[in-house]
């Protein structure tokens, strides 16, 4: 979350400076600058996700060396999930908390001619964004680990695409629909990347006990080691 905040800070700095240096009156220019600011922000977020990956990798190595059996207590996949989730949560919160706060107060949605579905679509978009960040985190870390730069580029491109789709926003069928499709596809991709498959899904859903009774017996016979 901290890393995402720093990336947002830098991106806003860029946008702020660009707005200051530009002509305030020109609406098209301002819109263009906004697009530029959003694109810079997306790129910076991905850059900071990469920086976070590097940091976690180092911490992982450190944890592995000092742990008892040479492996770190948290796997890289878990870290990827947590990192994606936290990026998603902070991004979602920052996008939606002011809207939520305003939704309590007195007012009418869309009284000036904007869409009356502002709140509900914001909610759906935020949900999609949180999920997307989580999936992107998993895929991104896996791609960095296995050095598959194509996947990496795809993640960045899909982030840019999602952000770009929100620019079509009052036309919700053009933006919400594709974003949800992207969310589903990215989710499936992340599921496969994390090692899941149809079979593991079935196993999880049927709550079958694992057949390791032999192992259990063995460990039950062993003298418990002292910690």
């Amino acid at each position: 979350a901290f890393f995402w905040l720093v990336s947002l800070l830098l991106a806003s700095l860029v946008w702020f400076v660009s707005v200051r240096l530009s002509d305030r009156g020109d609406a098209r220019l301002q819109h263009g600058l906004l697009v530029f600011g959003a694109a810079v922000s997306v790129l910076l977020q991905e850059l900071f996700r990469f920086a976070y990956f590097k940091l976690l990798k180092k911490a992982d190595e450190g944890l592995a060396t000092i742990s008892e059996d040479g492996r770190s207590p948290i796997s890289l996949r878990q870290m990827a999930y947590v990192s994606g989730l936290s990026f998603g949560i902070i991004s979602g919160i920052f996008s939606v908390i002011n809207i939520l706060a305003d939704s309590i107060g007195p007012g009418t949605v869309g009284i000036h001619g904007d869409s009356p579905y502002y709140f509900i679509t914001s909610a759906f978009l935020t949900m999609a964004l949180v999920l997307l960040h989580t999936f992107w985190g998993v895929i991104f870390f896996d791609a960095c680990e296995k050095r598959r730069y194509g996947c990496l580029g795809l993640v960045v491109a899909s982030h840019l695409l999602t952000s770009g789709l929100t620019f079509l926003n009052p036309r919700y069928e053009a933006s919400l629909g594709p974003i949800f499709i992207i969310t589903l596809c990215t989710g499936l991709w992340a599921f496969v990347t994390a090692g899941g498959s149809f079979r593991s899904l079935l196993k999880c859903l049927s709550c079958k006990q694992e057949d390791n009774s032999r192992v259990m017996t063995y460990s039950a016979l062993r003298v418990p080691c002292e910690d």
Partner: protein, 458 residues
């Protein structure tokens, strides 16, 4: 005596003890030799938490601020094992500190957002005599700097006074002071707080019920803090009084002064804990020489500690719990030094082993906790509360400050695990918090607002 002033509440100046983070660790070597001794020494060391209390109460002079307590350095042959244990427990302790800090901040932010009383300007404390209602920016800046200088010097004087009192063993004075300040905090401030909350929600309450509630709350609080009580109840009370103190600061410190004071306090904290002649460091060293715990009252402890002991577990436990409670009391007192009577409140900060100690027979690993001074809680909450009260970007700024403070705390705990001595908990968090506050308020807010008005997501 400025106590019940019409325009300002007499806040006790609980020394904002800024406590440094201290990990309560017992030295491994002694514990294997003699349980009793080990546990006591361990406690003494563990309780060496320095707190830097900066008394911010405007009316009351804060009792000396104690800077962070240092963690006793573990010496001994079992250093490696210690390191592993420290790191192993480190993450758990980080979480154990995150929860109370978060709770305190949530209470403060929730109150600020709902109860209007704490954002209205109703005068200033005497520690910040210069007003900020001046027409020119330069004059306002000058006034806030002067306010800060006065406040910081008050804090330094209080800390030095406290250290002197401790050096010359005036324990009764310190204890009395602490008890008086906790009385004031638990009864008076709670009464005011409850009154304002009831006013906000337009709930009627009769005086007998109010008296009953406040009496019970205050009496249980005094017992919990200064004597014995369940650990979680004590932690809850410590969080509540920190929140109350922070609310008082938020109300009575003028805007720019508050930010400059926050910055100056973290610099002071850094110097007081780490410089060889710093008052807090001297306090810790004196306590170490005498092998006693440092003021327990003003320290929040995050865990129970089980001492490794083989001999005389009972006496050890009893003694430790006594020390623990003493410390707790001291901590409290420090916070509340009543300023009315005397601005010099020396707050005795006895190290607080706020955890009851139970010794086990076998040589188990010790469960160590981390201690954080209540002053740190107070200043973190002041920062977040001020962000919630004054930022126009509302929730984004508050959240950014919150994340920044937690990350700062995390980094400080990491440094604690590396250096194993008392560290100031304020500088890193407050620096991050200030940077994030100003940058989010001025840079991120217009960006996010513009994006949100077009319903764009990044």
């Amino acid at each position: 005596m400025i106590t019940f002033m019409n325009n300002s509440d007499s806040e006790e100046e609980p020394c904002n003890e800024r406590t440094s983070l201290m990990s309560a660790e017992s030295p491994p070597v002694p514990s294997y030799q003699d349980g009793l001794q080990a546990s006591q020494a361990g406690e003494a060391q563990a309780h060496r938490k320095r707190r830097t209390g900066s008394s911010r109460s405007p009316n009351n002079i804060a009792d000396g601020e104690m800077s962070d307590s240092g963690v006793p350095v573990r010496e001994g042959a079992l250093e490696n094992e210690e390191e592993e244990l420290t790191l192993k427990y480190g993450a758990k302790h980080v979480i154990m500190l995150f929860v109370p800090v978060t709770l305190c901040m949530i209470v403060v932010v929730a109150t600020i957002k709902s109860v209007r009383f704490y954002t209205e300007k109703n005068g200033q404390l005497i520690y910040t005599p210069f007003t900020e209602d001046t027409p020119s920016v330069g004059q306002r800046l000058l006034n806030s700097v002067l306010n800060t200088i006065i406040m910081i010097s008050v804090i330094v004087v209080m800390t030095v006074f406290l250290v002197l009192l401790y050096k010359y063993r005036c324990y009764k004075f310190i204890h009395g002071w602490l008890i008086l300040s906790s009385l004031m905090l638990l009864f008076l401030f709670t009464y005011i707080y409850l009154g304002e909350v009831l006013k906000t929600y337009n709930v009627a309450m009769d005086y007998p019920t109010l008296f009953l509630i406040i009496w019970n709350f205050g009496a249980v609080g005094m017992i919990c803090i200064h004597w014995k009580g369940p650990l979680q109840l004590q932690q809850a009370y410590l969080i509540m009084i920190s929140a109350l103190m922070a609310l008082v600061f938020i109300k009575y410190l003028p805007e720019w002064s508050a930010w400059v004071i926050l910055g100056a306090i973290s610099i002071y904290d850094l110097m007081a804990v780490l410089c060889p002649k710093g008052p807090l460091r001297m306090l810790v060293e004196t306590a170490q020489e005498r092998n006693e715990p440092i003021f327990p009252a003003l320290i929040y402890s995050s865990a129970m500690i089980w001492t490794v002991g083989m001999a005389k577990p009972d006496t050890a436990a009893r003694r430790s719990s006594q020390q623990a409670w003493d410390a707790a009391e001291d901590g409290r007192e420090n916070h509340r030094s009543p300023s009315h009577t005397d601005s010099q409140m020396s707050e005795a900060r006895s190290p607080v082993p706020s955890r009851p100690i139970t010794s086990f027979e076998e040589l188990e690993e010790e469960e160590r906790g981390v201690k954080l001074g209540l002053g740190d809680f107070i200043f973190y909450s002041v920062l977040v509360g001020k962000a919630a009260a004054t930022a126009s970007g509302d929730w984004n700024t508050t959240l950014a400050c919150f994340v920044a403070i937690l990350i700062g705390l995390c980094l400080t705990l990491l440094l604690l695990a590396v250096f194993k001595k008392a560290l100031p908990a304020l500088p890193i968090s407050i620096t991050f918090g200030l940077i994030f506050y100003f940058s989010t308020d001025n840079l991120v807010r217009p960006f996010m607002d513009t994006l949100a008005s077009h319903q764009l997501y990044i």
